[in-house]
Amino acid sequence: MLEFICRRILSLFPVILGLLVLTYALLYLAPSDPATILAGENASVEDIQAVRKEYGLDRPVYVQFGMYLKQVSVGNLGVSMYSNRPVLEDIAQRLPATIELALVSLVLMAIGGITLGTMGAVWHNSPIDHVTRMISVAGLAIATFWLAIMLQLVFAMVLGWFPVRGRIPPEMVPPVQITGLYLLDSILTLNFSAFRDAVRHITLPAITLAFGGLATVARFTRSSMLENLTKEYVSYQHATGVPFRRIIVPYVLRNSVITAVTQLGLLFGSLISGAVVVEMIFDWPGIGSYLVNAIFTSDYKVILAVTIVVGVIYALVNIIVDVIHAMIDPRLR
């Protein structure tokens, strides 16, 4: 098992290196020149050239890349050209917001998806099945950004049930930082009013983000349950007089859920893509909005760093899922 994990982690390095080369090449090809902005509104041509030199933007690309690799190999992801702040520090500060959002969405996804899928399988081919299937099909066809705007429009702007933006009310100071996850921190510090506020703020973004994945989980739960329901042991038990619902929960559901949960790893990618737009629309201060901002301002170091961090997290999540998978099914090792 240990060997399996090590092998998977080692295989990560070439991928990350490739990712770096790819991203760097893309940035190099970009027509934008941050020096003109950095040099300021009253800059002369000489001023712009001086800034270019200062940041090494006038050097050959392989020299720049070499310098960058050397930095990254010692864990230094550089500083943002605009803020002069270490990128790693900014990411560390913003990552908890994204993680919190992703975790809550995953939970919603799992609960909603498994419930819908189970209902669909148990009442196979009934109106309930059709409705749940419609929901899961719709989930994959709806544009995340549109759903976000519609939910914001209806529940925040018109009905006013939820806040339109942010993680906490504007006038509030963030709860004392322990984990950076406001929901958790507010409970740990017994700050229940902050907890209530945090829940209200995360509701709409998390629902938006969960919707697409929920559909996938529902489909997988439903199909694997249908498969399990036709297995012999189920028919056998049913034949021996065990009530149907007593079979479903302990046997069928457990088996099906395991299959469905392994899908969650694959959903992580869509979760990150979704986070980019959801964070933007709800002003959620995570790394998704950080990345969009960096792309729009051509902040090279930030784009590179976030790409690496997302790539590593993405790969780690997949490794974890594979490990769980391998533990369940030793044939895969």
């Binding site: 070439p14 991928v15 990350i16 490739g18 990712l19 790819l22 991203t23 893309l26 940035l27 090809l29 970009a30 027509p31 299937r133 099909v137 719709a138 994959l140 066809a141 709806i142 544009a143 995340t144 950004f145 549109w146 705007i149 519609m150 914001q152 429009l153 702007m157 018109v158 489909r219 997988f220 439903r222 199909s223 249908l226 498969e227 990618g269 869509s270 990150i272 893509s273 980019v276 737009v277 933007m280 990345l291 969009v292 792309i295 729009f296 051509s298 784009i303 790409t307 997302v310 790539g311 993405y314 790969a315």
Partner: protein, 278 residues
Amino acid sequence: MVVKKFSRDLPATFGLIVVMSILTVAVFGWWLVSGPSDVYDSNLLARLSPPSAQNPFGTDDLGRDVYSRVIIGARSALLVGVGVVAASMLIGVPIGLYAGYTRTIGSEVVMRITDIFLAVPQLVLALAIAQILSRGLESAMLALALTYWPAFARTVYGEVRHQKTSLYVEALEGLGASPFRIAVLHLLPNVAPAIIIRATIGVGFAILTAATLGFLGIGATPPSPDWGLAIAESRQFLPESWWLALFPGLAIFITVLGFNLLGDGLRDILDPKLRRSR
């Protein structure tokens, strides 16, 4: 037989109808609107008027008819979807065939490259690529194709690997058929169902991602009646002018839904191994 099986599948039939209707709208769109002036010309006096008999979907901030713009927007949406999938197939299928059939360093390298592309969510990569290309629909399409081909390469690779062990391939090899011939004439037709399914769902997916790029401001350019762009432009007029966001979004939803349902139906027919519900 196939037609009968298909027509019994209600959602798939619905998907087919939707896709056909969208195709019709895309081709004959100009007959459904009163003219290019409704789509492109500003009419500042009539800006932001709510849905009415004259403008069933209301007007936008330049006074243009939202209904006309949604109708005409179908063409570019379909173009993107089909274009991206076609381009991705063009890159991905040969690579998948090559990597799946041969076992050389080259195939190993190719598959590692797909790993790199799959190591970041597609949207993030497409965003970065679209950012460096000059603005426009073509750039967005290119960015999507450049990031979507690994999906095809993977699908084909997996299928070919599976087929390669079949008796008929071994028999052909024994008969001395050239690898190229085996790959193109014998393996390709056998992996075609998988490609078709992937492509149908891929069209919907590409439309969705292209709309997202348009929404983020790096896809279609004004005054194109692009759906994603329209939603992006609507944001500053919410909540009063809700119609600006609602109708283009519904158009995206229905189109993508159609392709997904059709893709599901096709999977049932073409790939009996898989159960319909997946």
